[in-house]
């Protein structure tokens, strides 16, 4: 655990508007003492990556419910690298079938939190693995 506050961008990429999970996680991370920037809905990959760079975030937490997580995570990881911001970590939560976890890890997504993951577990993971 580092000595500076963890800064996280909680993002809702794409067209899906189911943001209860993202908001709950954002509030929980905030309560845990982290600095949270919530992007709001309908964000493009570019705008999420730009926000994370501008805010000098440590990690992006993506919330994806539609099944499009593989596609979206890959784009975010690649865009970060292109922008020379490969040090910003990427995590994803939402409707994530277990069979997709190896592929997400392979593309460089470091934290994977399928629906049903206890929030305390996600917070503990952040504190141990970010910074």
């Amino acid at each position: 655990m580092g000595d500076k506050r963890i800064k996280v961008v909680v993002a809702k990429p794409g067209l899906d508007g189911h943001d209860r999970g993202a908001k709950v996680v954002a509030l929980a991370l905030k309560e845990a003492g982290m600095e949270v920037i919530y992007t709001g809905l309908h964000q493009s990959v570019d705008s999420i990556v730009n926000t994370a760079i501008q805010e000098d975030a440590d990690i992006i937490g993506l919330s994806v419910m539609t099944g499009g997580h593989l596609h979206i995570c890959k784009e975010v990881v690649e865009r970060l690298k292109e922008e020379g911001a490969g040090d910003i970590k990427v995590a994803v939560g939402g409707v994530i079938p277990s069979r997709d976890i190896p592929a997400l890890k392979d593309m460089g997504v470091v934290g994977i939190f399928p629906g049903g993951t206890p929030i305390d577990e996600a917070i503990a993971w952040m504190q141990a693995n970010v910074n």
Binding site: L15, H18, K23, T66, I119
Partner: protein
């Protein structure tokens, strides 16, 4: 907190206190003194079923005279796949359709828009133009079958397209009936598929209601969704209060155009949520029917009994269903359906047990339908109207719930009304906070979900999932290209410019939308006209 009740226990594990999410505290025993304490009066508070204030039921004979209608939410892939699923559900005894649209359609994007990539046909049916509705509704008797159109930001477009397809197939459009969801205020609070500036979007809903008065008299032009507000964290009293205030906002929009609420108030319907505690839900719907009918009568002078009824879908909520041990959700769904029946629901639907994983498989969707049918046919729910009436407990908490709903309404009205408190984030912040507290309640074990935080097992579940077929996107895009190739481009341009002009002039856009649909303008083209004229909605920060 916003789902199950909170139970406070002593060291011997006896329940000492029960508090419902709406704040109602439940006593161990109820009797005549409790009814006296809340001022219960049979005639004023209940009345006979089928009479004002409709607390007991909208109809004198309840389910004796008509079973509830069951409308599972269905639609995926291209219109052809959806048409096949609909025919299966109608063949299995379902009595109406409830259309799911994919996200690009809900967000006003055509299937070939780059922003739609990977989402075409994924969570619902892709609709780009009238051609797609022609395929989807092929062989469906549009005089007989009513259709819910689960879409909001572009609901006006879909309502116009529904009329256009009915006309093409030779149906009398004054006899068709659709129920576009068409509730943008809840969409902003709960489901997130919003597009245009909120004031303009409310005006669009006014257009649909105004248009339906003469053009589609059997249509229910808006279905107010407490459902999604509840799913975002509202408790039962807030769900009803916010829904009623949203309805009033739309009514006011049409009344200010010179109409009398009597002309259309009876065609406003509701989509409300069933979840959590059985008794609280029964109280919510009984009190809700009463508050709504009194609201219409006292605030708007509506008099006709059938116009004063709270009509609509009382459907099993999704957020009460859990990912752990998914088959437990079949049982949860059955109890939600029981709550719906004991509440006198006219129409019902259940989330399917596998929805925490993906959109429902065919087997899961059929199980949900069967659950509703078994309740109606096998266990006695058609026997008598409002079977819980007269219970000291139920009547007391129904009165208490009525009070809570009125308090929540007064709170928002005192702060400047629904639209203002959506825009300034007051309601959004409240809902997000309550959703967070509920999750924390589960994590701390204060709110019990079986198999999640009590009686847990480490069993891994295998769920057979509905698969997304990547080929749907290619097929849909090819079909769209064909439409673009064969339509009259000049006519398309003309219809779109007429639509823009009407929108700019503040005219009712519905007749222009219908003409644009008939010219095979695409959903994306029509929606872009609105985005251009009205501008986008700007979301307040509620975190």
């Amino acid at each position: 907190m916003s789902d199950v009740a909170r139970y406070f226990k002593n060291q011997k594990d006896e329940v000492e206190k029960v508090v419902y999410p709406s704040g109602i505290e439940v006593k161990p025993v109820y009797g005549p003194a409790d009814l006296a304490a809340v001022g219960f009066d049979y005639d004023a508070d209940l009345g006979q079923p089928g009479t004002f204030p409709f607390t007991r039921n909208n109809f004198a004979q309840g389910y004796r005279s008509r079973e509830w209608t069951t409308r599972q939410y269905a639609g995926f892939g291209t219109p052809k796949e959806t048409n096949e699923r609909w025919r299966m559900l109608l063949g299995a005894g379902q009595t109406g359709l409830n259309v799911a649209f994919d996200l690009p359609t809900q967000m006003g994007l055509d299937s070939d828009d780059p922003r739609a990539a990977g989402e075409v046909g994924r969570v619902g049916m892709a609709i780009d133009s009238l051609r797609d509705f022609e395929i989807a509704f092929e062989g469906i008797d549009m005089h007989k079958v009513g259709t819910g159109l689960t879409i909001n930001a572009v609901a006006s477009i879909m309502m116009a397209m529904y009329e256009a397809v009915a006309e093409k197939y030779g149906f009398d459009t004054s006899r068709i009936s659709c129920t576009p969801q068409n509730d943008i205020i809840k969409e902003v609070l709960g489901r997130g598929a919003w597009l245009y500036d909120l004031d303009a979007a409310v005006k669009l809903i006014g257009d649909t209601i105004e248009y339906a008065i003469t053009a589609q008299p059997r249509t229910y032009p808006t279905s107010i969704c407490g459902y999604h507000i509840r799913e975002s964290g509202a408790n039962s009293a807030q769900e009803m209060a916010y829904a009623f205030l949203i309805a009033n906002t739309y009514i006011d929009e049409v009344v200010k155009r010179g109409y009398d609420a009597k002309q259309f108030a009876g065609r406003i319907s509701y989509n409300l949520n069933i979840y959590g505690n059985l008794w609280e839900q029964v109280a919510k719907f009984r009190a809700g029917r009463k508050v709504w009918s009194r609201n219409l009568k006292e605030r708007y002078g509506v008099e006709k009994p059938s116009d004063l009824m709270l009509k609509g879908l009382f459907a099993g909520g999704g957020s009460g269903l859990m990912k752990a041990e998914p088959e437990n959700n079949i049982m949860r769904g059955a109890f939600y359906a029981l709550a719906a029946a004991l509440s006198g629901a006219q129409s019902t639907a259940l989330c399917s047990f596998d929805e925490a994983y993906a959109i429902p498989s065919e087997r899961a969707a059929l199980l949900s339908l069967r659950t509703c049918q078994i309740l109606m046919e096998e266990v006695g729910l058609r026997d008598t109207v409002d079977p819980l009436a007269g219970s000291y407990f139920i009547e007391t908490i129904t009165k208490e719930m009525e009070q809570k709903i009125l308090e929540e309404m007064a709170d928002i009205e005192g702060r400047g009304g629904m639209v203002e408190n959506v825009k300034n984030g007051y309601i959004g912040r409240k809902l997000a906070r309550q959703a967070y507290e509920w999750e924390m309640g589960i994590e701390r074990g204060e709110l019990i979900k079986v198999g999640v935080n009590k009686y847990t097992t480490s069993r891994e579940e295998e769920v057979q999932l509905h698969e997304y077929n990547e080929a749907w996107q290619d097929t849909q895009i090819a079909n769209l290209k064909e439409v673009r190739r064969t339509r009259d481009d000049k006519l398309v341009a003309q219809r779109l410019s007429e639509l823009a002009e009407a929108a700019r002039a503040g005219k009712n856009v519905m007749p222009y939308l219908k003409e644009a649909c008939l010219a095979y303008c695409t959903v994306g083209e029509m929606s872009d006209v609105f985005l251009d004229v009205f501008g986008p909605y700007k979301e307040p920060n509620v975190i």
